[in-house]
């Protein structure tokens, strides 16, 4: 503790990562009643976090190696749990991303949430969320990471189910928590196996051990696969992906935060955090690659058929996360992290823009928004288009660069199938995002108001161009700016930053090679062309079907109703889970066990009681009122006793 004031880095780390927690505590305990004060405390806290994150990034950008602070949390037997911070380029980068996005979202929420009765609570949870995420990012050990990972889940549960009086919201929160719990238990088990087999959960130690293969291969594979479960749950990978679209029940800024820099990013972040460890297990990497691919394709298809503006971005998040997992699994450490960074920017942008639309039109339906004149809101329209372009991977937006990096990595894989999948994903992504853009920007008459009229959020009519609007618009503009410059100017500095220090931090020079574009078989230019053309083709298709005049605006999928239905119902995954839960758990085990409890166990006990009493009644026949029967009992008893001795 005495080191704290003397070491500015530590001070900044501690301050930056604990202030949101303090703000949460203060809000919940003291300032619940005062909304203004609550929001200010929260925003100030996250502002401080942002400042310290930037400070750390700048101070440590040229640090020779990772900086680690560690103190014993507790120990039990020979199992020591350390509490510590691990500051390396990856965590610093991610810390900054989280701080930036969280700060922007909180500022944005000043407008978006104004007038909400749960305003204070909202900011408390936001602070909790930011705190948990930042601590997760700089955690020094896998266990600590897991702890905050769980807290991130908790915070997202609270935020998704924020409007708890709305049944669907609380349901969505529960679903998110339980489904990620499924993955987390795997993660937890993985950690336990590592504790047992390896004994140390420090992230650098794990990475070193993984890279140098100093732990048994089997152990790595098993634990890596189990830890991958955590990634699957948190980052909504196949098959645990259906909670994420439902999580749209939360407010739009929450979705923005959830989908860009926190919660779902946690999975991918964790993957990259112990990337060298993972990469020591080819089996785990292959599994992750497959899962990422499936996820990406599935989510893209789902996005093609929904009219809910937030759902589209939710599916796109899933598919982009799949892409990131693919990148990482294919060995593209930088590509994955880079896409995580750019995605955080443009996805937050997309959600925040959607939020403005939703806030203005009180609907989630893209058709209605378009019809009611969504494009008149110039700033969000423009910004959203920028975001969509980045998502589609169009030059010069940030998504282009990161996607290219990923495709490069995929191309380096032995089988070309991953590359083709990536390209198809890129195509579909471009298609569905511009389908949305065209719906909003180029509305045409004759939209049939279908049954899917979207969700209504609590309405509060505010002046569109007042303080509220600007509180929402400024973050959007900042993010749009970031999206523009992040790819164009920051790819190489970032690569140097991250990969450079990775070389110091762990012994994985080999990994860096994977990420260089020169290493893959197909020429760089060809790949570039392929990527761009896939994106452009998708946009063109979208324009052909939705943008141009006289287009049918139904999409080619409407020709195949069964496929439409398949996509719309999320490949029946939800139904499957529901059915599985209902039959296997509720109707199966639960009811079986409950019956067992009532009938067999309790029945046995009550039966014992019953038979005891019946025994009493039975024996009481010995005590009949007839004297001579009584005497008989006595005489026969004595007689039997005598015979006992004689025989």
């Amino acid at each position: 503790m005495d080191a704290l004031p003397r070491d500015p880095v530590l001070l900044a780390t501690v301050l930056g990562t604990s202030l949101p927690f303090l703000s949460m505590a203060v809000i919940l305990i003291f300032t619940r009643a005062n909304r203004q004060l609550s929001s200010r405390i929260s925003v100030a806290a996250i502002g401080c976090s942002l400042a310290s994150a930037l400070f750390l990034l700048i101070t440590l950008r040229a640090a020779p190696g990772a900086i680690q602070y560690q103190t014993e949390w507790f120990s039990s037997g020979n199992f020591n749990v350390a509490f510590g911070y691990y500051l390396d380029p990856l965590s610093l980068l991610m810390l900054t991303i989280v701080a930036v996005i969280a700060f922007l979202v909180q500022v944005y929420s000043l407008g978006y949430m104004a007038g909400d009765p749960g305003f204070s609570r909202y900011y408390a949870f936001q602070s909790l969320f930011a705190w948990a995420m930042m601590n997760m990012v700089i955690a020094g050990s896998l266990l600590q990471l897991f702890i905050f990972w769980e807290l991130v889940g908790l915070a997202s549960y609270l935020l998704i189910g924020f409007y708890y009086e709305k049944w669907s919201a609380s349901q969505a929160g529960k679903k998110a928590f339980v489904m990620t719990r499924v993955g987390d238990v795997g993660f937890f088990l993985g950690i336990i196996i590592l504790v047992i087999g390896f004994g140390n959960l420090g992230i650098p130690e794990l990475n070193t051990a993984g890279a140098s293969h100093s732990i048994p291969q089997q152990l790595i594979t098993v634990s890596a696969l189990l830890i991958l479960c955590g990634v699957i749950g948190k980052s909504a990978q196949f098959p645990l992906l259906t909670w994420l679209p439902d999580a749209m029940e939360g407010q739009t800024p929450v979705s923005a935060l959830l989908h860009s820099a926190t919660m779902v990013a946690a999975g991918v972040y964790m993957f990259s955090r112990i990337f060298p460890f993972f990469s020591a297990s080819p089996e785990a990497m292959t599994a992750a690659l497959a899962i990422g691919t499936v996820t990406m394709i599935l989510a893209s298809t789902m996005a093609m058929v929904t009219y809910d503006i937030k759902q589209v971005w939710a599916y796109s998040t899933i598919s982009q996360l799949g892409l990131m997992v693919m990148a990482l699994a294919a060995g593209g450490y930088f590509a994955g992290v880079y896409h995580l960074t750019t995605h955080a920017g443009f996805k937050a942008l997309l959600f925040l823009c959607s939020g403005i639309f939703i806030h203005s039109f009180h609907t989630n339906d893209m058709r209605i928004i378009g019809k009611e004149g969504g494009r008149r809101l110039t700033i969000p329209t423009v910004c959203m288009t920028i975001g969509a372009l980045a998502l589609a991977g169009v030059f010069p937006f940030s998504g282009f660069f990161s996607k290219e990096a990923i495709l490069g990595v995929l191309a380096a894989q032995p089988g070309k199938i991953w590359l083709y999948a990536g390209l198809i994903g890129a195509l579909l992504t471009a298609y569905y995002s511009f389908r949305l853009i065209f719906y909003i920007v180029l509305p045409q008459g004759g939209i049939s108001a279908s049954s899917d009229s979207g969700h209504h959020e609590p309405s509060h009519d505010e002046e569109h161009h007042g303080y509220i609007f600007w509180a929402m618009a400024v973050p959007v503009i900042i993010l749009a700016g970031l999206t523009l410059i992040l790819g164009l100017f920051f790819e190489h500095p970032l690569q140097g930053f991250i990969s450079g220090m990775l070389g110091h931090g762990s012994a994985s020079v080999l990994l860096v090679q994977h990420t260089t574009p020169e290493a893959h078989g197909i020429g760089h230019e060809l790949l570039l062309a392929l990527g761009v053309s896939a994106g452009l083709f998708g946009i063109a298709l979208a324009w052909f079907e939705f943008g141009r005049k006289d287009s049918s605006r139904t999409g080619f999928l409407s020709c195949f109703p069964s496929i439409w239905r398949l996509f719309d119902l999320r490949w029946f995954m939800d139904i499957f889970f529901r059915k599985a839960l209902d039959t296997a758990v509720y109707a199966g085990l639960t009811s079986l066990f409950t019956k067992n409890d009532r009938r067999i166990i309790d029945g046995a006990i009550d039966g014992i009681c019953f038979f005891t009493e019946a025994g009493g009644r039975l024996f009481s026949f010995l005590q009949s009122g007839m004297l001579q029967y009584n005497l008989l009992v006595m005489a026969l008893g004595a007689g039997v006793a005598i015979l006992f001795f004689l025989v």
Binding site: E165, S170, V182, I605
Partner: protein
Amino acid sequence: MTSMEMAGFPILSAILMTTVFGLLAIIFIPAERTKLIKQVSLGFATLGLVLCIWLYFAYDHQRGGLQFVERVLWVKSLGIYWFNAVDGINLPMLLLTAVVLFTGIWTMWELENRVKEFFALVFLLVAGVYGVFMSMDLFWIFVWYDVSLFPMYPLIAIWGGTRKEYGAMKLTLYLLAGSALILPAILYLWAQGGANTFDLFELQRIGFSAFDQKLTFVMLYLGFGILAAVWPFHTWSPVGHVAAPTAVSMIHAGVLMKLGAYGILRIAMTLCPEGTAYWSNLMAFLACVGIVYGALVGLAQTDLKYVIGYSSVSHMGIVGLGLATMTVGGINGAVFQMFAHGIMTALFFSSVGYIYDRTHTKIIPELGGLSKTMPIASSFFIIAALAGIGVPLMASFWAELLVFIAAVQVFPVGGVLALAGLIVSALFMLRVVQKTFYGEKNPRWEHIPDVNPFMAVPRIILVSIIVFFGLFPKLMLDIIQGTVIPFASRF
């Protein structure tokens, strides 16, 4: 050891005496002066709490082992000693008891019906609990064990709720049926020891043959296991909890159930290391089944207290699993879980108690949307539920972590199965939270006031303890493992 050993002020006896004198004081107060009775009760409970906290700080965990030993020969011809001491295992339990008693009495501040008898019986019950936790003599452990059980009957039957007479009778008989195995086992050990002593540690030094250990271990395990709600002997627990009044549920689920696990640890495992090893697979099996089973059955319950009852079954399974591993980590975790679960369940019942006192129902479908009308009261429950799920930075998380590490190491299959139970427990806790507190505001409960600050105090104390030891588990674990390390080295 000499026959007489008294190191300074008998602090442990003093803690015990706070309850006895509390009981006597209550007896001599006229029954009409309910306010005074409550104040006196709270005063004695506070005194006990203060002494326990002092004990917690005064205990030297560096040195470990037994401290504050009081040892007086009690009954010469049988070798019974008045032998009280603390070590790392019972210190958390004493602290837990003091906290739960204190908060429990505060929670019952609004009681109106037969106040005098209620608090007198509560003190009697807690005297037994303190006694079990501090005593190191088999005779006294058993005496206090029974003393702590039988006040449950009137407490539930008079002040209880749903099916109170049935629940009370079932609980009392069931638990005392457990002692039908404990007493013979204790006496058997005494007789086989041949040294005419009930002193736990002298018996431990004597050691027993493998057969004796196996035999007595299983008797003690089943006997105490009933109180620890080991599957399949758990059915008294939900029924009893449902029937019991708030403070009694708090003490019962929070403290009394720990007596069972504590008994297994303190007597069975101490005296029968070989027996433990022999039966550990059974222990682990029952514990794992209990974890999953409790959670799954909890899913189907419609009564709030039933839900908590089954969650207790599940959580006590974790304690059992930790004990079954016979490793330092596992036992550390088990003891810590006993403490954490005690506080957590007390919080659970105290929140449910508040709700039930106001709404007169604890049927989940009849409630709903309570968060709107009583946000603070609801948040206490939600916090408890989160602790029950094993959310990190709450005390129970660490306990579960330690237990599961040990369990997966020792019983891979069972450990993994039990881990899966965590998913279910999350599901059923959240389901309850959702159905009870979330959803549309229920007009039936609109007039109900939220917890006032005075009544919030005990709940806040409980929450703070959960979070405090979640943030600083070292403060408890160091004490625990100072004793557990030498303890586990015997296996």
